[in-house]
């Protein structure tokens, strides 16, 4: 995911810095990002310290109560931990399912097949996430396809009761984000020289040792990159829990959405968003060294 690395082509002839051209070329893009990302975040930060939405006809003053609410009310912390747990679990499942899959793609399948299979793995990644979550309601619902199938295989199987559970949310999210993990692991794995593995094997290392001592450490940047790419959007998810979670579908993301679309407590929503953002930044900071290697 790296942007062009300037250090890699030292032979390239440099021109003297041309401020006008640089500004002309990068200015529009960055002006756009300032208006659509930077200013909105700044405005949201400001809102998070207000007592009400600053619109005509409403009383508002500067306050810390929105942040205080998070630390005073137990349930916000419970929900935060729940969202974090969801993020970790989804990332873990994606790793457990996706890593072997990436390994098979990178190391045991060759040629045209690899390209075709690879494309098949990432096609869902480009199809609408909402529709994929919706499709799980078709599979998991009571008297749905999955239950009918199991009932046909094992007569008298009864009901799975998967729909509207925490598990359903995990399944839907793993399905949504699995391709990320496969993609990043695949890129890491394909840089490992096959000769290295063969050499280790010929020197008597068992398959497990090779996996533990060579493959996993060398593919760590890809695994971490994948995990972070999954973790970050999952802890902010609201659409998937709403559709699949039912009674068990309350997370910090859904509470934030409520503040904006229903309760009209934008300042509280803004404060909760910034607390969530702080968590994201901490995660990035912890994994920054590995992420840098990954790119």
């Amino acid at each position: 995911m790296a942007v062009s690395d300037t250090k890699r082509s030292p032979t390239r002839r440099r021109q003297p810095s041309n401020a006008k051209s640089i500004l002309g070329l990068t200015g529009p893009a960055y002006l756009w990002l300032i208006v659509t990302i930077l200013l909105p975040l700044a405005a949201m930060f400001y809102f998070s310290f207000l007592s009400d939405v600053p619109l005509p006809g409403r009383d508002w003053q500067v306050t810390l109560s929105n942040y205080a609410a998070f630390f005073q009310e137990d349930f916000y912390r419970t929900l935060m931990l729940r969202s974090l747990r969801l993020g970790f679990e989804v990332a873990l499942w994606c790793f457990l399912i996706g890593f072997p899959c990436a390994y098979v793609l990178a190391k045991t399948i060759k040629g045209r097949w690899r390209e075709a299979l690879f494309l098949m793995v990432i096609i869902p990644f480009w199809s609408n996430a909402l529709i994929r979550v919706f499709s799980w309601t078709m599979v998991l619902r009571g008297n749905g396809i999955l239950e009918s199938l199991l009932d046909w295989l094992i007569p008298g199987f009864g009901s799975l009761r998967l729909m509207f559970t925490y598990e359903a949310v995990v399944i839907g999210l793993v399905h949504s984000y699995l391709p990320y993990m496969i993609l990043t692991c695949y890129i890491s794995l394909s840089t490992i020289d096959d000769d290295l593995i063969d050499a280790a094997r010929s020197m008597g290392a068992s398959r497990l040792t090779v996996l533990r001592r060579i493959i996993l450490p060398l593919s760590m940047p890809g695994i971490v990159a994948g995990a972070v790419l999954i973790f970050v959007p999952v802890i902010g998810s609201f659409m998937e829990p709403r559709i699949l979670g039912g009674r068990e579908g309350t997370f910090l993301g859904t509470v934030i959405e409520d503040q904006f679309t229903s309760v009209f407590n934008w300042p509280l929503g803004a404060a909760l968003s910034f607390i969530l953002l702080a968590c994201v930044l901490i995660i990035f900071a912890i994994f920054q060294p590995i992420l840098r290697r990954a790119s």
Partner: protein
């Protein structure tokens, strides 16, 4: 390579993962041909929901909006992104690293946060919501992808070509137009297709920026799921998935996902 037992196992595993990825989508598609409004089994095959869809002005209009927003996003993001990529390639300047790092927030911050921040800022500042706001937001999300894809292509560019053009008397804009851009075309097209896909599939940002009567297809689908859906939604979803897959196959002709091997 001979098929060893482990190889066989590997293939079966891959097959299972693919089944996990595709089965729900196939079930969803199959249900669009089921006549039962409540998705009762067994499936009673019918095309009714597609016929109904053809008369659903709400869904059709939101599809039109989605395409409009995606096209505008594609044009703006690929032009702005390519320009920035060229600057990154051609010039060294002090804040380059900062500018490159600034591309990541749109990707790295959860959409929920970017979306609500845009809602709040656009509403409060008078920019307003609606299609223009969605385009503003989508371009911001698509820009990093365009810059990454175009930059990847630009890396292989030989600056001597530009030097040669300059020595023949071309001014900087002519150099870009006649030398740099033609070389970049494949990267540009891939970037543009990425931008289109990012925008066309975007739900969260559009959801917070939509106004009554003006929404995009994913927003309309979500509203339908929340407020009561029929197999009509399966029908439109099936069409959208088919469209996305076609688009991706086209993208893959310009951008090799599996690396150059």
């Amino acid at each position: 390579m001979k098929a060893r037992p482990t190889n066989m196992l590997a293939r079966i595993y891959l097959g299972l993962v693919l089944a996990f990825l595709y089965l729900p989508i196939l079930v969803m598609a199959a249900m669009s041909f089921n006549s039962s409004q409540f998705y009762m089994l067994p499936i009673d095959w019918t095309f009714d929901w597609y016929v109904k869809l053809a008369h659903n002005t709400r869904l059709l209009e939101s599809t039109r909006n989605s395409l409009l927003v995606a096209l505008a996003t594609t044009v703006i993001a690929s032009v702005l992104g390519t320009a920035a990529s060229i600057a990154f390639f051609r010039y060294d300047f002090r804040f380059k690293k900062v500018l490159q790092a600034a591309l990541f927030p749109p990707i790295a911050i959860p959409w929920l946060i970017t979306g609500t921040a845009m809602l709040l800022f656009f509403f409060w500042s008078g920019i307003g919501r609606g299609l223009h706001a969605m385009i503003l937001g989508h371009v911001a999300l698509a820009l990093p992808y365009v810059i990454i894809v175009v930059s990847a292509r630009i890396k292989g560019f030989d600056p001597d070509l530009e030097a040669a053009a300059r020595s023949l008397g071309a001014n900087p804009w002519q150099v870009i137009r006649h030398v740099t851009l033609p070389y970049l075309a494949p990267g540009f097209i891939a970037g543009a297709l990425f931008a289109f896909a990012v925008s066309f599939d975007q739900f969260v940002i559009s959801y917070f920026l939509s106004v009554p009567g003006v929404s995009t297809l994913p927003v309309e689908i979500y509203t339908a799921i929340k407020k009561g859906f029929t197999p009509e939604i399966n029908a439109i979803s099936t069409l959208v998935i088919a469209f996305s897959i076609t688009l991706l196959v086209i993208v893959s002709r310009f951008y090799r996902f599996g690396g150059d091997r």
